[in-house]
């Protein structure tokens, strides 16, 4: 879906409702991935109730939001997961949900296969157990593969295999493609962001400039590989990649968290980017009237990128990637293809300790060993 320039300008000033609405159903998770965007683990006691969640779905349907992206945490952990999914699809609100697959046993796969307007993304972080489990925890790769086997056996149809591009997984692009082919699945690759717990691993795991260049070429040759518009910062390398190629935060994209807080995008769960709560006056009020979203719909400020000939292609990159690495929003993306972000980071290296941390942290509390003196 290549968009022309005038349409992109329209999108930058915002839409009547989001195109891409992500709703993290719960912060509860049975895994503890090192790069979790939402710092998930423990359920928040203030989580939206079933009735509140259904009312939100009704509002989403009324706003003619065509589909919602459900994530978490692990969304299938919620007891009312199927009830909510069915409530949405019965009103023709499609559901695309992200899961670690651990809850997709044979029975769940059969139930999922019977639902129309439902898409599933199963996450892995490597094409083999060693690589993937290093991030997602021991046994998680095998469980994800079992889920894929179960969906295939249940004739679910085409599901998606979703992979975050790290310094390790980016070396396995062809293996991921082969795995997707094996299942008749679609491959979806997304960018590692320094958001949530990702801030702790970003320095060590974000792709090198050379790896990003290879990824760009690989994606250009494969327009069918999905990216959720993740890699628009790489479009500065030449022809634009598939997608809108803009930061959609607060314009075409937003996030609702498990307790109803609305954030500008799934990668900025932080007070600075909080637009309001659906519990106050509903979601539509936040989308149309929040001060934060209005300011995000103003024309972007190219800042330090103003003299770069590629600003039109990359639009200065990802807001979240800048914010959580301690850069200003007017700085270049930390993974700027020309290295301007690395320079900006080096200039601020002294302040690394002052990087913003995610506001709500639902990570499981790890027991601390008590040492005797």
């Amino acid at each position: 879906m290549g968009a022309d320039q005038s349409l992109r300008n329209r999108f930058e000033s915002g839409l009547a409702a989001p195109i891409c609405l992500t709703w993290e159903l719960t912060y509860a998770c049975n895994l503890a991935c090192t790069h979790c965007l939402s710092s998930s683990g423990r359920r928040d006691p203030m989580e939206l109730s079933t009735d509140e969640a259904k009312a939100l779905i009704d509002e989403i349907a009324a706003m003619q939001i065509f589909y919602i992206n459900i994530g978490g945490g692990e969304p299938m952990i919620r007891r009312d997961f199927f009830e909510l999914v069915e409530h949405a699809v019965n009103q023709k609100v499609g559901v695309k949900f992200s899961t670690n697959g651990t809850r997709i046993d044979e029975a769940a796969a059969i139930r999922l296969a019977a639902i129309d307007y439902l898409d599933i993304q199963i996450s892995i972080d490597g094409a083999d157990a060693t690589t993937s489990d290093r991030i997602r925890g021991e046994g998680s790769y095998a469980q994800a593969r079992t889920a894929m086997d179960n969906l295939k056996a249940a004739n679910f149809g085409q599901f998606k295999i979703s992979v975050v591009m790290t310094r390790d997984s980016i070396e396995q692009l062809d293996e991921f493609e082969a795995l997707a082919q094996h299942y008749g699945a679609e491959l979806r690759l997304t960018r590692l962001r320094p958001s949530g717990r990702g801030v702790d691993v970003w320095d060590a795991l974000h792709p090198t400039r050379e790896q990003n260049r290879r990824l760009y070429q690989w994606l250009l040759e494969r327009p069918n590989v999905l990216t959720g518009d993740s890699f628009f910062h790489l479009s500065a390398l030449g022809d634009p990649l598939e997608g809108l190629n803009l930061c959609g935060a607060g314009r075409v994209v937003c996030l609702i968290d498990p307790v109803g807080e609305v954030y500008a995008c799934p990668f900025v769960i932080h007070d600075e980017f909080k637009a309001g709560n659906v519990r106050d006056a509903g979601f539509a009020a936040v989308w149309t009237s929040s001060e934060l979203f209005r300011s995000l719909r103003e024309p972007g400020n190219p800042g330090a990128c103003v003299s770069c000939g590629s600003y039109d292609a990359c639009r200065g990159g990802c807001m979240a990637a800048k914010f959580f690495t301690g850069l200003e929003l007017t700085d270049p993306d930390p993974e700027c293809v020309f290295g301007h972000g690395e320079t900006a980071l080096e200039n601020k290296r002294v302040a690394v300790a002052l990087r913003p941390t995610p506001s709500p942290d639902h990570s499981k509390r790890v027991p601390v060993a008590i040492t005797s003196r």
């Binding site: 879906m1 839409l15 009547a16 065509f66 589909y67 023709k92 499609g94 129309d116």
Partner: protein
């Protein structure tokens, strides 16, 4: 692309498609193939919605869009047929 599209035939919006109005025109989403399509003018939106009331696309275009833009809208409809937003009837 326009070759696959017969503007003298009757067409309609697919039952699988939802349309949401936007300032620039509208978004059209096909719930079956999951494609999101941009209808980039309010005239095109009006045309798409009116198709079912006419015996051919040509007739609808003449009734709805400004004179002199007939071919442009034939091309636009042809591309909507390709993405299954429109069906024959």
């Amino acid at each position: 692309m326009a070759l696959d599209f017969d503007a003298s035939a009757p067409w309609k919006l697919s039952d699988q498609v939802s349309i949401r109005d936007e300032a620039f025109g509208a978004l059209a989403y096909h719930h079956g193939n999951r494609r999101l399509v941009f209808l980039k003018s309010v005239e095109l939106v009006a045309l798409v919605r009116s198709l079912e009331g006419f015996t051919s696309a040509d007739e609808a275009i003449d009734a709805v869009v400004p004179v002199g833009q007939h071919q442009r809208y034939v091309r636009a409809l042809a591309s909507l047929v390709k993405s299954e937003i429109l069906n024959g009837r």
